[in-house]
Amino acid sequence: MAILDIKNLGISFGGLRAVDNFNLSIEKGELYGLIGPNGAGKTTVFNLMTGVYKPSDGIIMLDGENITGKNTVEINKAGIARTFQNIRLFKNLSVLDNVKTGLHNEFAYSTAVGIFRLPGYFKDERLMDEKALSLLKVFDLDGEKDYKASNLPYGKQRKLEMARALATSPKLLLLDEPAAGMNPNETKELMETIKFVRDEFDMTILLIEHDMRLVSGICERLSVLNFGQVLCQGPTGEVLNNPEVIKAYLGD
């Protein structure tokens, strides 16, 4: 069964149909790419999936659960985590604490336990530290755990954002232009990391990307979005050679 199943998803802003009749089905463990020219509505699809916008129509099913119209917090609890196109870290918190906030709902001791330092506090904090550190190791960030997040170099900030999203133990990870602003070497390294995350955590990943080397290098299947509508869908190789897709990207 598909882990993510989107049917007829659509949203209008005023008179503009930003996303229309969007269908998507992703299998568990798949690495799926969502591509398309600027303004095609890719990030809007992410925003619809994570409850930032409420869809005007359509259904989003996650692992058999209908999450359409739920708010961001509920959707995260249901199992979708994301990164952002323009990095959104908690920049005044340490690298470690950024990941620990991702564990917020897994180790949910109460405020009173925290303030009065009841026994649960020490146990949960220790477990959080361990888990957060192991995640940081995956992204090779454990050496910088006490750095302020804003002091990390750009590439590492993107990785930290991924680590934070993974900390919420999602079923589906959404990456919004993970390679934006990276040089070819960093992109190559990032591709390895994404593949590693998929294998290590048995994660399903849906990513938006403009960097075709990354897309063709790691994505197994692609959807191409143009003017809010799906232009074509299928295995990466076929899609990238589709004349319609080439036309959408390069113009007539």
Binding site: F13, A18, T44, T50, V52, Y53, T72, V73, N76, K77, A81, R82, F84, N86, R88, L89, F90, K91, N92, L93, D97, K100, T101, G102, H104, N105, F107, A108, Y109, T111, V113, G114, I115, F116, R117, Y121, D124, E125, M128, D146, S150, R164, A165, A167, T168
Partner: protein, 374 residues
């Protein structure tokens, strides 16, 4: 031993130690008679100011929202607790017990007012939030000025017109007399209780910051959209920070009111001016720096008293310090200067970075309106 501890734990222990050492030094000075009456009279207000500054720092530094109505919560705590103590001055004979109950009542009432105000206020952001908290603070002060409360054999009487409208029996006693306020509150506050309350405040705030809830609050401060995306309930944690901050301000109010024989809600003690004075402590002590708030409260309260000549210029100096510190910490010239000479942000730790802002952040004031931009 200190070296093996986590940085935050070490920093917290230093803060507690600082307060305790200051207390011991002060008590020694008082007992040897080397402190003037003037300074002695300032000790309890000083504790109250420190509690207020620490609690406001929770809202401004940790939650990242500017509240200009903090004195309003203090006002609620002060009046409720003073009224309670005066009503029960004879029925509860143990002074300390009565005061403890009064403090708890002050905390609870201020907390409730905090929640009631927080529900509408926390939907707003930035300048709007600031101006609405200011409005609430002024409303609380105004309302306190028209409240008449009395007790007689038949029970409690209340009105908002004039004392004679209370229609009390001949044995009636006026508790709150409109703009005249409360007179004859039992003098239960003392320096020791003040310091204990300050330590409790520190315990609550510092432990909160270093816990799951504290991280959630700071995450919301740094980036509310990202915080939501990892499953943090914005309303819940904003409300938590705001109401704890209000509760602690209520405690400070109780401490303050049980140190005065006459308590009236004027703009000087519970109005906008007081809120700004507390804000000055927070800003000069370092936004987000809890220890700094206490140091600033102590220095800025004692210094003008010690240097009488300065006293006339006190508010002027506060004003100049506010502007200068903001420019030094946040303007491009200030940042360049600091980088050139390797100085960190002055008096500014753990707090939000005030120098950078996303272009959209400023224009965005209303949250929860439902729709967000494309």
């Amino acid at each position: 031993m200190l070296k093996n501890m986590k940085k935050s734990t070490r920093s917290n222990i230093i803060t507690y130690a600082m307060v305790i050492v200051a207390y011991i030094v002060m008590q020694t000075l008082v007992s040897t008679g080397s402190v003037t009456n003037l300074i002695q009279g300032l000790l309890v207000p000083l504790c109250a100011y420190s509690i207020l500054a620490v609690s406001l720092n929770l809202t401004v530094g940790i939650l990242g929202e500017l509240s200009l109505g903090h004195a309003g919560f203090m006002c609620v705590g002060a009046f409720v607790s003073a009224a309670f103590s005066k009503i029960n001055a004879t029925s509860i004979e143990n002074d300390l017990l009565r005061f403890i109950i009064a403090i708890i009542i002050a905390a609870v009432c201020a907390g409730i007012v905090g929640i009631l105000i927080g529900i509408p206020v926390l939907r707003l952001k930035g300048d709007y939030l600031a101006i609405v908290t200011l409005a609430f603070g002024e409303i609380i002060k105004n309302v306190m000025n028209v409240i008449y409360l009395g007790v007689d054999s038949k029970g409690i009487h209340f009105c908002i017109t004039k004392a004679s409208d209370l229609n009390m029996e001949s044995d009636g006693k006026i508790i709150i007399n409109g703009a005249t306020g409360i007179t004859g509150t039992p003098h239960s506050s003392n320096f020791t209780i003040g310091v204990i309350l300050l330590l409790i405040t520190l315990f609550i705030v510092l432990n909160l910051i270093n816990s799951r809830s504290g991280r959630a609050i700071m995450a919301i401060r740094d980036n509310s959209i990202a915080a939501e995306s990892i499953g943090i309930d914005l309303t819940k944690y904003k409300m938590l920070a705001f109401s704890i901050s209000a509760m602690l301000a209520g405690v400070a109010g109780a401490l303050y009111s049980h140190n005065l024989s006459t308590l009236a809600a004027t703009s000087k003690n519970f109005g906008y001016n007081m809120s700004i004075m507390i804000l000055v402590f927070v800003v000069l002590g370092g936004i987000g720096n809890i220890r700094g708030s206490i140091i600033a409260a102590i220095i800025l309260t004692l210094l003008p008293e010690l240097l009488r000549a300065v006293n006339d210029y006190r508010m002027l100096i506060y004003a100049i310090l506010l502007i200068a510190l903001m420019l030094f910490n946040s303007s491009p010239a200030g940042i360049n200067f600091r980088e050139k000479y390797g100085i960190g942000r002055l008096l500014h730790k753990n707090g939000p970075d005030l120098s950078e802002t996303a272009g959209t952040q400023r224009a965005h004031h209303v949250e929860g309106a439902g729709k967000k931009g494309v």
